[in-house]
Symmetry: none
């Protein structure tokens, strides 16, 4: 029973989901190192040993959680911006949307940020996937002259830096959206930073 099993029955799948949800809370509230497997299984209402049927280790469930967050974020961002015709407007709206998302999922967000100090590879997988998506979008926008022509990865890192830090500052520390003037200032940076001459 060294390797975790993929659930075969519906009951098993349910248990796995319960464990993920429990871990999200536990890690989000206490942080990875302070969290304990026994507390996770208690929250999930199963015995300690059950954990290891579905996950190989504490790190393993962390990875599963970060991947889940990755899927959710990408899905949410795409959905929120695809209806907006103008690319520049998309980015500005994307910032605001991301911040809302981070506030709503602050546990998951904290986990993503913390993961970097636990297993860098988990964290890099997340951010590299995200930056890839960003850069691809920016490149397209450049081609249709909607934004300034510059290294799209550089642009992506800057944009993500702005979101990242505001997310950290407000979602994680204050559990709420930044005040309007901060959001506006940030949007102004994005606007003037990306707008073609």
């Amino acid at each position: 029973m060294a390797k975790p099993t993929t659930p075969v029955t519906a009951r098993g799948e349910q248990t796995r989901q319960n464990l993920l949800a429990a871990a999200e809370q536990e890690f989000g509230e206490k942080g990875f190192h302070t969290a304990s497997i026994s507390s996770i299984t208690q929250r999930a209402g199963v015995a300690q040993g059950t954990f290891y049927i579905y996950f190989a280790s504490k790190e393993d469930i962390l990875r599963a959680l970060v991947r889940q967050m990755g899927r959710k974020v990408r899905h949410s961002l795409t959905e929120a911006t695809e209806a907006i015709p103008n690319r520049l407007e998309q980015e500005k709206h994307g910032l605001e949307h991301f911040l809302k998302f981070a506030v709503e999922h602050k546990n998951l967000y904290r986990i993503v940020l913390e993961s970097q100090f636990i297993d860098e590879s988990i964290h890099r997988e997340y951010f590299e996937t995200l930056v890839e998506m960003y850069a691809a979008r920016l490149k397209k926008a450049q081609e249709s002259d909607q934004i300034r022509k510059e290294d799209p990865f550089g642009q992506a890192w800057v944009l993500m830096g702005i979101s990242y830090y505001l997310g950290l500052r407000y979602a994680m520390w204050e559990h709420r959206m930044p005040p309007d003037e901060v959001v506006e200032t940030a949007k102004g940076f994005i606007e003037r930073g990306l707008r073609p001459d």
Copy 2:
């Protein structure tokens, strides 16, 4: 039991410094939780018990390290930019200077970032002091019409976000400066973001 002493003799001061240097390496290389006091004392060439003569706990030496970093960063940034007359140029140069600093002190930088997941108060003290300094500078610059008039804290958070994330991405992950085009892109954002109309 006994509160840690402030060293009186030169020998004591030396030991304290050795411990700090050892902890900087140990935390920087392994991260806070994987690091161990016994490993720190070994690096410092003293017995385990000696640690508690100078520091009350593992968190305590972390706090000392983060404060040290705070002093160094502020000092270094001030020194590097004070000779530049134009404020906007200061900020652009400040970004580059900070990134170099982060690459050179990547252990300390990592510690600062990680501290947020260990004791939020340590981390907030660091960043709030820094943002205060930033915002004050930006305010002054606004008053002399050197930069755009906007919420200076908003501006500070955005600028720090850009630095923070590029520092994370390059200093911590790649151990080197970002490629020129990325730095230029970032500087462009700052330039257009701060320049008055």
Copy 3:
């Protein structure tokens, strides 16, 4: 809860045999304590729960395996030596035959030896049955003046000690027959040790 069933259907008998074969490999390769039921059932291609339909516990299948080995050894030794008229020659040939057997069944042999540290009764049952058979043969040989008249159990223990140790040394450690000179030396001991004056 339920005592293990003796299989009634052919399918059941097949499953039981598969489990025995799997356990022989697993125990032989990893040793009893490192072996796991889950690994045995995997090798046997059945679910974990199935194990307990046929065996009451991990020790139980070990006992079954050791008994199997007992039957095989006795059968093989008898068969190999019964055609040899002279008793002394029988013993010398028996040594060699046993060593070959041990090399060929090194998994089972290892299990027999290890069983002594798991459940002494399992191991004693095996060796006492064997020594009984040996002593009876030696007694008969004494009566027909083919070997030296001495305590046949003492003789049996000595002979078994020689085999046992060479089996350990070569079958288990080297997975091959001892070199000829060692076999010859051992045979010489047996020859001179058993031959009547």
Copy 4:
């Protein structure tokens, strides 16, 4: 504190010895796998953590114990036989002496035998050192025509096999010396097996 320390103070050395003595009892009585570190430290009168100051793991103290036994056996055998002028008599006396030794140190003896199923390298180190010593002695005896000229390693393995198995049978199973007739039978084998024509 990953690696165990060699004690510096007398107190430390005492603790280490207490742990060794406790482990000897615990392993001897319960066997390696059933024994527990916590029980060992209880017997030794120290906290659980103290164990790991002196030994890196459960296997590590086992190794230390087996080495101790090796030194004791070699020392005891040498001492017991060196006064006997005739080599052949030495061997016969050596058997008896060894059996007594095994009875007296049955815990250690059991540990040595069991070690083979835990970490083969531990056990091989023990037996190979011993066989080396044996073979060297036999070789010398051959040169002075005191015993039969044959492969001395073969002779050593046979002699050790006899001792080993009688030790197992009587020291470990019965906790007493074999009956006289068995010892005599064994000595007879050695006598006739080794005596030059």
